[in-house]
Symmetry: C2
């Protein structure tokens, strides 16, 4: 049984405003939920249609129909949980910090968070207009990585203006990624899906880098931002030999 007040809370958590107000976010699917529990995130509710063996936390069994009502997915999974938004860990201030300038698509942010986790990036810094990392679609796309990467939302212009570290940015016309050695202690900026890095941030970059295009046609407009981030981070890791 899901109470009316629980339904109301869960529905409200689709919106960032209410996630901030209540301090909770939603995760769906046993795999994602298990990963968050294993990472020590605090569970508020857990609804599942399955019988959970040896469960170490409280859960509520519900029918598929009940779950469908609260699910944000087109094809609801077998479980939905509400977690407390964790307190921010202090960021480890070394290595490459990835900076997102206005990334809008939840799937792209999710993929970038997984990439940061894979490549051991200590800090993911988002501009304030980047999609919220506790958006249900981002949570689904990141799997457990969301609990392991330190993510902050700041005024990236002020941050980058104040640093003395090199600031690399992925742009369409810059120095080839393969000829530029990216410093291990630095910022790496990638931009919005449609417009790339904003002009005011472009002006602060110390190094503009480009992923060379090899197609005979050279007509491909640009790479997807998550794809570009994957290639940039792989190259950072290869050259810094971490």
């Amino acid at each position: 049984m899901i109470s009316k007040s629980q339904i109301k809370l869960i529905t409200s958590l689709s919106k960032k405003k209410y996630r901030e107000q209540h301090g909770f976010f939603i995760a769906e699917g046993p795999k994602v939920i298990d990963e968050f529990i294993a990472e020590g995130l605090e569970l508020h509710f857990h609804f599942t249609t399955e019988i959970v063996a040896n469960e170490t936390h409280v859960y509520h069994q519900v029918t598929s129909g009940e779950l469908k009502k609260i699910s944000k997915l087109t094809n609801p999974n077998t479980s939905l949980a509400v977690f407390k938004i964790p307190k921010k860990n202090a960021a480890i201030t070394k290595g490459v910090r990835v900076v997102l300038d206005g990334v809008q698509d939840p799937g792209n942010l999710g993929t970038i968070i997984r990439l940061c986790d894979w490549f051991g990036v200590s800090q993911l810094i988002c501009s304030k207009d980047t999609v919220d990392c506790f958006n249900p679609k981002v949570v689904q796309a990141t799997m457990g990585s969301l609990a392991r990467v330190v993510i902050s939302y700041v005024d990236i212009k002020s941050l980058l203006q104040e640093t003395t570290l090199p600031i690399y940015g992925g742009v369409l016309e810059g120095v080839s990624l393969y000829s530029e050695k990216i410093e291990e202690d630095s910022y790496l900026v990638v931009g919005n899906e449609g417009n790339g890095i904003s002009e005011e941030i472009i002006a602060i970059l110390t190094h503009k880098i480009t992923i060379p295009q090899y197609g005979a046609s050279q007509k491909t407009e640009s790479l997807n931002v998550a794809t570009a981030t994957a290639i940039l981070l792989s190259e950072v890791m290869r050259t810094t030999g971490k």
Copy 2:
């Protein structure tokens, strides 16, 4: 005005069976449609809510309401076109051929097609159970790249069994990508989203390669298949110096 028979045709084109039967596929949005026209694809219908200036082809003006009825998108664009599925170009048989073993997600296939176009991969070979490249969601994700990459659906097991070229495969436990030099004339296999490369194909690989994981936690399950393909292709292009 959209006729009943046109609506029926368009609706049927969501399914691969009918795309094959009629020899048509759908593209939505002026940008994608313009790219396909520029690439010389044969237009069958073109419906748009906009007034098209200096139009060199026939189009039908429709209302947003009419467009909504035939659109496959949640947020319909301003135009929808039906194109003839192009005849296959003969593949250029040199360079790295990318082989997909059971990729299911249309967004992933779309991203991989864009990557092949970006990096000048002459041939994309898909196993028969890989999602169809004329699926409306794939078409949306590829933009014009779909018209520029030679894509075929074949029995990849037979194909790979018969070749004398090196066959590289992206797996979780293999030689580091950064220490293995990928031959320019070769096959590069990536696998299904959940299961990776199938066992029967794993058995035929001549080189198993892995994208090293650097995170302290080493808990990230795997990279998304499109992300992994991006990193593999970038490294091929960097080392072959094309």
